[in-house]
Amino acid sequence: MLKRVHFPTSLLPYLLVAPQVIITLIFFIWPASQAVYQSFLIEDAFGMSTEFVWFENFTYLATDEQYLGSFGRTIFFSVCVAFLSMSAALILAGFADRIVRGATTYRTLLIWPYAVAPVLAGALWVFMFNPTLGIFPYILEFIGVDWNHYLNGNQAMALVIFAAAWKQIAYNFLFYLAAMQSIPRSLIEAAAIDGAGPVRRFWDHIFPLISPTTFFLLVINAVYAFFDTFGIIHAVTQGGPANATTILVYKVYNDGFVGLDLGGSAAQSVILMFLVIAMTVVQFRYVERKVEY
């Protein structure tokens, strides 16, 4: 065994990590512990008195049909967003990888949507799909679709899924393209000589070889759909109609700041916090592993 190097104890290392520790304490540990504490309280509607109730907020959530419905919707929403944005990004990256001329131009253009703020992305889609003045409802009318996401919950859900997926394509595209470009060219050429056409080469070689990236993106996209889509939903549907697009993170906001049920809202955010922790653990345990070859 190698001898470990010993440095004389001094204050310096503690000073150097202090800023990071302070930031974490102030902006994460403190609010998180406040949320946990708050989730054990019930306030009256006027904020005059609070009562410590242990897990009553949580047991109530476990039986609340609206909350459980929102849970199911969130999972459906996340699966759709992840699948749509990842498959679109995969196709785009597959084509961008084959291009030689003008590759940087295409790449730059495809990355742009990522620079759009979520609320603005939502606003764009609201205008495009506005039932009275949007271009898409006008076009959809020709094929017999009566579009009104203010009234039709399924259409509202579809709209936020598209908007959220569209925004994430650029991010996924970047990772997929980088993964594809790290595959040795000669490997693909060997497959071509072996007689595999472009589609076959993609499914037999490129797709399996970028599977670590796919898994990584799956976790990232799930986290994105769970937590970062608040802005889009707030701008497009505000959780409506009739809660059809109220996913968990939107319900936290709605119950807390609109419904003023601070304890219930805190309990929901504590549940979400544990979900994030679980996903992060999954990511570190399995994704950080190196590619198998």
Partner: protein, 351 residues
């Protein structure tokens, strides 16, 4: 099995021509080595034959079919890459079977052909391993196995041994040669290593700067190099060159030294003499100021300069020869071992 014909092949990237009108015929069952320094276009030429690079102009014929516009898969070729290009996510067996599977060959026939190839290459016990669990030499064998199971008309080798250590390289070189002779498949082998080229090839095509310098058997290239470049490239240690003036059968060089020659050349020439053709002769016309000697065991390399000039000179003597730095040694050479090249064009002047 098939012959390959290259007719007036040109490769250009935009306005930059990198291969200039390459032509040559490769007979059925022959092993041709394309050799040249890096950047000479040898890999590009191979990739054009494989169909991995487009052909700017000219024709490539495999058998009697022009294949210019065919996909690599349709040319009935197999290629061994420098980095082996094995599929990392597939086992050795799957790697070898992949090309056959795509051609929709029956399962038991695939298995039989993979087993046969594995026996030939002695990789039977590795069939279920992944490429990353193999050593460099074993990967090289798998890459060759993947080529031979397909039973193609042509093998293409793109510097297949350059990632191996020296000892393994010599061993694999012999094996490639044996395998090629046994299967009788027309092969093109690209390398920058002249020893590999000399030992492997039925014929060598020496490329330099996109031009074919010479295309012939190893012995032809050694005995009668067509240009200064070939003369310097083939043979190790490489040929000595001295500026000389030819005048009615006498070559004058260095400081008032001269040697008779049977060549009719006149005027400024470059005289080439291989180090191993120099004979120690105290009355010889070639006088060398010794700088250092290298003892290789079987022979001794004496490095020095031509007396009174700064032209580098190497002589290879059999056995152990002692030569003190600073001393002068004299050599002579047989007339038929003198190579005379035009000083301006570098082309060989035939006697």
């Amino acid at each position: 099995m098939a012959s390959i014909t290259m007719k007036d092949l040109v490769k250009a990237y935009g306005n930059v021509e990198v291969l200039h009108h390459v032509a040559g015929e490769i007979e059925d069952g022959e092993l041709i080595v394309i050799v040249g320094p890096s950047g000479c276009g040898k890999s590009t030429l191979l990739r054009m034959i494989a169909g991995l690079e487009t052909i700017t102009s000219g024709d490539v014929k495999i058998g009697d079919k022009i294949v210019n516009d065919l996909e690599p898969a349709e040319r009935d070729i197999a290629m061994v890459f420098q980095n082996y290009a094995l599929y990392p996510h597939m086992s050795v067996r799957e790697n070898m079977a992949y090309g056959l599977k795509i051609r929709k060959i029956a399962k038991d026939e695939i298995e039989q052909r993979v087993q046969e190839a594995a026996d030939i290459l002695e990789i039977r016990e590795y069939l279920d391993r992944k490429p990353r669990q193999l050593s460099g030499g074993q990967r090289q064998r798998v890459a060759m196995g993947r080529a031979i199971v397909r039973n193609p008309q042509v093998f293409l080798f793109d510097e297949p041994l350059s990632n191996l250590d020296a000892k393994l390289r010599v061993q694999m070189r012999l094996e490639i040669r044996k395998l090629q002779q046994r299967l009788g498949v027309t092969s093109i082998y690209v390398t920058h290593d002249q020893v590999e080229a000399m030992t492997l090839g039925d014929r060598l095509m020496v490329l330099n700067g996109g031009y074919v310098e010479q295309f012939g058997t190893p012995i032809e290239l050694y005995n009668r190099p067509a240009t200064l470049f070939v003369a310097g490239f083939i043979g190790s240690p490489s040929m000595n060159f001295l500026p000389a003036t030819a005048d009615s059968g006498i070559l004058k060089f260095g400081k008032a030294a001269s040697i008779p020659s049977a060549n009719h050349a006149a005027g400024a020439v470059t005289l080439g003499i291989r180090p191993e053709h120099l004979v120690h002769d105290d009355a010889g016309p070639i006088k060398i100021t010794v700088q250092m000697s290298e003892h290789l065991g079987a022979n001794t390399l004496i490095h020095g300069v031509l007396e009174g000039t700064d032209t580098d000179f190497v002589a290879s003597m059999l056995g152990h020869v002692t030569a003190d730095p600073g001393s002068t040694m004299s050599f002579s050479a047989l007339t038929e071992n003198l190579h005379i090249f035009d000083a301006a064009s570098g082309k060989r002047i035939e006697g």
